[in-house]
């Protein structure tokens, strides 16, 4: 694995923090692509960081960034990752709060906001597909597809909350080990 400079790591997280829309999950999917492209994180460590982040209280993507930064550059990497992904985005969100208040009844702003919301949802679904696709190996698609589809059905049809769904997936993963 390549060991980047802390400035390179900070730059990547800051860029992703202000350019990825649609919430934490698309952010994680884009970070996954960037990590693999740069050879900074193995798929195994990525999966552990992702899994544990789901079990950490608070905003999952920030726990994921702390874990990824910690794997890449230790405690300094964790701090840099979390600060870089949140500070520029927080400044933007404060600005947007003011702008939203001023333009809540402006029709041009509403038209742009509606288009952005639709794109954010499309991005989110695309990121879910990307997350599974990048973990699939040739000829080994059944486990990823079965678990992700099962989780979707449990959450959407059975209306189970995320934590029990993750617990069930962990149990399935424990007993259904890839050979």
């Amino acid at each position: 694995m390549a060991r980047p400079r802390i400035t390179a790591l900070t730059r990547l997280f800051a860029r992703v923090g202000v350019t990825v829309f649609g919430g934490g999950d698309p952010t994680i999917a884009i970070l996954q692509r960037e990590f693999y492209r740069r050879d900074w994180l193995t798929p195994e460590k990525f999966a552990i960081a992702f899994g544990l982040a789901r079990l950490t209280p608070g905003t999952n993507v920030l726990a994921f960034c702390a874990a990824a930064g910690w794997y890449i550059l230790g405690l300094g990497g964790a701090l840099a990752a979390v600060l870089a992904i949140t500070i520029p985005a927080s400044v933007l969100v404060v600005w947007l709060t003011r702008a939203y208040d001023l333009t809540a009844h402006n029709r041009v702003a509403l038209s742009v906001a509606n288009a952005l919301l639709a794109a954010a949802v499309g991005t989110m679904i695309g990121a879910a597909v990307l997350l599974v696709r990048t973990q699939c190996k040739p000829g080994r698609w059944l486990r990823p597809v079965a678990i992700s589809t099962g989780a979707f059905l449990l959450a959407f049809v059975v209306r189970l909350s995320p934590l029990p769904v993750i617990g069930i997936a962990a149990l399935v993963g424990f007993f259904w080990v890839e050979t």
Partner: protein, 171 residues
């Protein structure tokens, strides 16, 4: 409101939730219902700003802090948002070499796949909300394809969507 109290109330909300907007009921109860330092309309504006902008959905707590106490409040909100994230480091330290075992890796990958399924299920109600007309449906489908198939950077997807929204207003 005292900044320390603001931070503690927001960190209580973030520490007792496991995803971005799951802290919203606690925030509403503390700030709108009990202390009445925010209105529902302001809380809605904070959530909307968090959804329209980049970053995690949980970033709305920064807006909440800003609306309660200006820039210092935004800093308190930001601290409350990032504090729980570092709890993952002792968990990783505890896992250590155990994380490399095949069964542990299989569990982690299964949780990752479940995360993708959960992401898709969370997107369905948002899609219902976002699809207001055939144009927004087309934007959603094209954005999905650009990310999932063409793997285009989401910045370009969002800029393109904003441009279409701007042009659509003219017609």
């Amino acid at each position: 409101m005292n900044l320390a109290v603001l931070y503690l109330l927001l960190v209580k909300a973030t520490l007792t939730s496991f995803s971005g907007l799951a802290s919203l009921p606690v925030v509403r109860n503390d700030f709108v219902v009990r202390r009445q330092v925010l209105t529902d309309r302001q809380l809605n504006a904070a959530v909307a700003a968090g959804r329209i902008g980049p970053g995690p959905l949980g970033i709305y707590v920064v807006s909440v802090g800003y609306l309660v106490d200006g820039a210092p409040g935004a800093v308190a909100g930001w601290l409350a948002m990032i504090t729980p994230a570092f709890l993952i480091i002792p968990m990783l330290r505890f896992l250590g070499a155990r994380a490399e075992q095949p069964r542990a890796r299989a569990v982690a990958r299964a949780v990752l796949f479940a995360g993708a399924g959960l992401m898709a299920s969370a997107a369905v109600p948002l899609a219902r909300d976002a699809i207001a007309n055939p144009l927004s449906l087309a934007i959603l489908v094209v954005s999905f394809m650009l990310i999932a198939a063409a793997r285009i950077d989401s910045l370009w997807v969002m800029l393109g969507a904003a441009l279409i929204g701007l042009i659509a207003f003219r017609f």
